[in-house]
């Protein structure tokens, strides 16, 4: 068989069959929540495949970018589909990463020895968001151009180096001739290569450290063999991910740039809201105080607080989480066994508060549309969200923690779960009868 001959070819030169055997016979714990990260991985594959295709039709210059993307949909219908699939996968990619991260968080999979992989994962979330942002900026339509303009304002607001960063990106004052070509290089080269390398590190570490599990015996990995059992399951996840993206891309139009028109710095679509994962930043900019102090005669622009300080603060908190959490349950053990969320109400509370804060900021990013729909002045909504950001998060956090505590009490009261024992007997007709046995 051809596959065996190829394997043999490499084995004689590299001794690779021993590695192959280990990899194929490896045991992986199985749980539905372990597939969330795989969904993200498969989105990335779709993104690279469609993205490479798109590079052959896109022109990364301020003059031609918009026209090249519009022409893409007109000249060949498959071009429209490619763009739809690319954009939808990006949206699902970030969502899958965040859900995966939620699973890791609430089951405490980030504990020693997996702190490094948590950090790698957080970096990938940041890079994925940046790739999304630089990607939807490329068509140079009115909406994305405005988003890019806002991004440049945030970059400009950094003390000392802001103007340098902005000039570097633009090749001069905004809007410079180099901005789109730079964004393009970053989007199609630096970011995807970085994500690819981090994925390799992420999976490499998973392979070496072995996957966590819910089964209580931490001395061994309990689960399914990779080949053929797990391979078939992950193939199902692969097919399901792509099918879902294709259905969305075929039926739901995303980012209709033809309707927005080409970007000019004096036109903007109204309402103007970014892709969902950038919503919290836009919301933060809307809620940010009109506060612009001067330091040594230099202004610290209002966008600096929500755009840079809040973002960095959130990043540092999330990156440092395994070490922050280790202060709550100090031990130096290796943790390979996952805990159900209810086992640690404090973790549920902190996680729920963090998620709520993100949701409040994301909601704030469409306050103008809510104002129009509900006939409430937008300033009232801003006030509401400004209070909800700290207080709502706190309230939801406390409520979630107390709910988890009740759940834990109920589980503890029920005692250890008895295993169900059944006796199977062959009957006269040749079939099988099942009879439950009461545990002793």
């Amino acid at each position: 068989m051809i596959v065996r001959r190829v394997a043999g070819f490499f084995d004689e030169r590299l001794g690779s069959n021993a590695i192959l055997r280990t990899a194929l016979r490896k045991i992986y714990p199985d749980h539905w929540s372990f597939y969330l990260g795989e969904f993200a991985l498969y989105c990335f594959i779709v993104l690279v495949a469609t993205g490479v295709w798109l590079t052959f039709v896109y022109q990364p210059t301020t003059q031609d970018a918009y026209a090249s993307v519009v022409a893409l949909g007109r000249s060949r219908p498959i071009g429209y589909l490619m763009r739809q699939v690319h954009h939808w996968s990006a949206v699902v990619f970030v969502a899958a990463i965040i859900l995966h991260m939620g699973r890791i968080f609430f089951t405490a999979a980030y504990r020693k020895p997996r702190e490094i992989n948590w950090v790698v994962g957080v970096l990938m979330l940041v890079l994925a968001s940046l790739t999304g942002f630089t990607g939807y900026s490329l068509p140079n339509d009115a909406l994305s151009g405005t988003g890019l303009r806002i991004g440049m304002s945030v970059a400009q607001s950094i003390p000392f180096i802001g103007t340098w960063v902005s000039d570097l990106a633009n090749g001069g004052s905004y809007p410079g001739p180099f901005l789109l070509p730079h964004i393009y290089t970053i989007h199609v080269y630096f970011l995807p290569v970085a994500i690819g390398v981090l994925i390799a590190i992420h999976l490499g570490m998973l392979f070496l450290q072995k996957h966590t599990q819910f089964e209580h015996d931490g001395s061994k990995v309990i689960g399914r063999r990779f080949y053929p059992d797990y391979l078939l399951r992950t193939l199902a996840a692969f097919g399901a991910t792509i099918a879902a993206i294709l259905v969305l891309a075929s039926l739901v139009e995303i980012n209709p740039i033809e309707r927005y028109g080409e970007y000019q710095d004096w036109t903007v679509p109204n309402p103007a809201t970014p892709d969902w994962y950038a919503g919290w930043l836009d919301g933060a900019l809307r809620l940010g105080p009109a506060f612009e102090p001067r330091i040594f005669g230099h202004p610290i622009p209002a966008v600096f607080w929500p755009g840079v300080v809040l973002t960095l603060l959130a990043f540092v908190l999330v990156v440092a989480w395994p070490w922050i959490a280790a202060r709550f349950e100090p031990d130096d053990e290796l943790h390979d066994v996952l805990v159900p969320p209810s086992a640690a109400p404090w973790r549920v509370g902190i996680g729920a508060a963090f998620v709520t804060a993100g949701i409040v900021l994301t909601l704030a990013a469409s306050d103008d549309q809510q104002s129009r729909a509900l006939h409430v002045p937008v300033t009232a909504l801003v006030t509401l969200y400004r209070w909800a950001f700290p207080l709502g998060s706190l309230a939801v956090g406390v409520a979630a923690a107390s709910f988890a505590r009740q759940l834990r009490t109920r589980i503890d009261a029920a005692g250890p779960q008895a295993e169900r024992v059944v006796v199977i007997r062959r009957n006269e007709r040749g079939g099988f009868d099942e009879e439950a046995v009461k545990p002793a």
């Binding site: 219908p77 905004y174 966008v303």
Partner: protein
């Protein structure tokens, strides 16, 4: 059953390819491809289930063997303080090429000059009575239509309604008042004018500016008024600028002149 799923997957893939090649509706190609991948997924799921493979196989976990750092990194090696200092020197030297990439000369002001006529994006000059009271128009200097950061909102209010300090009393002939259209918060176009309360409104972050009071910010995150463009009327009755804006256009940055 399994064979049928594989046939569906194959037919779906080919069908998607054919419909794309024939330039059919892209949704058709997309849905056929989706059907192909979904069939593949179901096939894999069914095949996995039919394996009846055990889910409680196990292999031992081992903690990695640790080696004391003193053993892994013996003292007296190549790493010395001098070595670290040298490395630092290389790092500092590397900053120079990096810094040299940024900081291009800043654009000095905008193309607005004394006597420059206000024209619409289509290039039509604007007379003092062209915009009706309550109306608004985006205008550019006649020699630089569409130039970055030159966009101006020309708003017509009742003559004398603008509360201007004495030195700017002449800046709003016949109720024509002009401000930079680029928001001082994050650079979006301040695209919406509400005549009911003489307010300019930015659709990006909901900053509001009071048109009758020098476009000072009254709500939202903006901290600085929109720069004003003094207006005049030339011999032929067209609106012209009295000079450049009265302040820097667009969002603030560290080295913005005060």
């Amino acid at each position: 059953m399994k064979a049928l799923l594989l046939v569906i997957a194959g037919v779906g893939a080919l069908g998607a390819a054919v419909s794309a090649a024939l330039h059919a509706n892209p949704a058709l190609a997309g849905l056929l491809a989706a059907a192909a991948f979904a069939a593949l997924a179901v096939w894999a799921g069914v095949a996995a289930r039919e394996l009846h493979a055990p889910s409680d196989l196990s292999e031992p976990r081992h903690a990695f063997a640790t080696v004391p750092a003193s053993e892994a990194l013996p003292r007296g090696g190549a790493v010395s303080r001098l070595w670290a200092l040298t490395l630092g020197a290389f790092a500092i030297a590397g900053i120079v090429p990096l810094v040299s990439l940024g900081r291009r000369p800043l654009r000095a002001g905008t193309p607005w000059r004394r006597g420059a006529r206000l024209v619409t994006p289509a290039g039509t000059p604007v007379r003092a009575d062209d915009v009706a009271v309550g109306g608004v128009e985006t205008v550019f200097p006649e020699h630089a239509v569409g130039a970055p950061e030159a966009a101006v909102l020309l708003i017509r209010v009742q003559d004398g309604a603008v509360a201007a300090p004495p030195e700017r009393r002449d800046w709003t002939p016949r109720g024509n008042v002009a401000y930079s259209k680029i928001c001082t918060h994050a650079g979006c176009p301040v695209a919406i004018y509400r005549h009911a309360d003489y307010t300019l409104y930015c659709p990006c972050h909901q900053s509001e500016f009071a048109v009758l009071f020098g476009a000072k910010p009254i709500a939202g995150p903006a901290t600085r008024p929109l720069p004003q463009l003094g207006l005049d009327v030339d011999h032929d009755g067209f609106l012209v600028a009295r000079g450049d804006f009265d302040g820097p256009v667009g969002p603030d940055r560290w080295d913005r002149p005060a």
